[in-house]
Symmetry: none
Subunit: 145 residues, 2 copies
DNA sequence: TCCACTTTCTACCACTTTTGACCACATCCT
DNA sequence: AGGATGTGGTCAAAAGTGGTAGAAAGTGGA
């Protein structure tokens, strides 16, 4: 399971070095193929193909006429691309995502259990600074967290 | 169960020596892997992975679109990092937390039953000086504490 | 339609920097 | 005095970076 936040850099060529902490798990559990996409254009998501397939299987349960499925695919296919990780542990971030999510230079790579997220430093910090509402505290309290 | 408050030091390299009192329990009950994070950026929390997983399981009950869950994960993932304890009982505190929670030099390590907390001396003192509210007294009273 | 040329990609090599595992010593406490 | 605890420092291995050469893709002209 991927956890936590590790800094990384995207070089001139748009290659993201996957932090060693995450690379270790990838080497032992997954291959070198990834599907990189986004559901909002602000944050890039990197899925080991195996994990993305699970999502596809769930989607397959919905009709092709289902408007929610259509809209989801419209977004995800817009940003999405298959990529190969090289021997040094780098993946080429899709051009379109580098622009829309401002993925360049220093970035934060988040472990979201089954997949990775890439956020620009600004977005990362900004989202972390949002304060909990009374509602949030109630919800989390009820769960016993 | 971890209890009480033991002083410790964080060295130049950012390594925290886990007080022997807590180390003993860790050796007999847990492994060497920890998830270090924070829910407010002011106080570091050190969870044996096993304990952190319990929290993840509770969170799994909420939808991924739940705003409270999102805010919680944005914070917790922002500060979080997996770490290994070395043979001398030291863990490397995540850079981002050392800065935001002023974790360096002398610190206080609190045992919070299932996990440890690390506070700068100032924060430690400050939080202990806060007065109980009427609301607090009511809650505790109802529990019979 | 096919070939020649140009441009872009990508796989991989070689080097630099950082990390963390481990050794050895210092200090405390009984 | 001797075990347990805490501290500092080292150095080899791991992580990270930049660059290049050969392959593939793209382009245009005959």
């Amino acid at each position: 399971m991927f956890r936590g936040n590790h800094p990384a850099r995207v070089d001139e060529k748009g290659r993201l070095k996957v932090p060693a902490e995450f690379k270790r798990l990838i080497d032992e559990r997954y291959g070198t193929e990834f599907y990189i996409t986004s559901r909002d254009g602000k944050v890039a998501e990197i899925y080991p193909v195996e994990e993305w397939r699970r999502i596809e299987e769930k989607l397959a349960k919905l009709s092709n006429f289902n408007p929610s499925k259509k809209r989801f695919l419209n977004k995800v296919n817009y940003y999405g691309q298959m990529v190969e990780m090289d021997a040094q542990g780098r993946v080429l971030m899709p051009q379109i995502l580098r622009e829309s999510a401002a993925i360049k230079g220093d970035v934060a790579v988040y472990g979201n259990l089954t997949y990775l997220e890439v956020r620009s430093m600004e977005v990362s910090k900004q989202l972390a600074e949002e304060q909990f509402t009374a509602e949030d505290e109630k919800t989390l309290d009820e769960l016993g967290i």
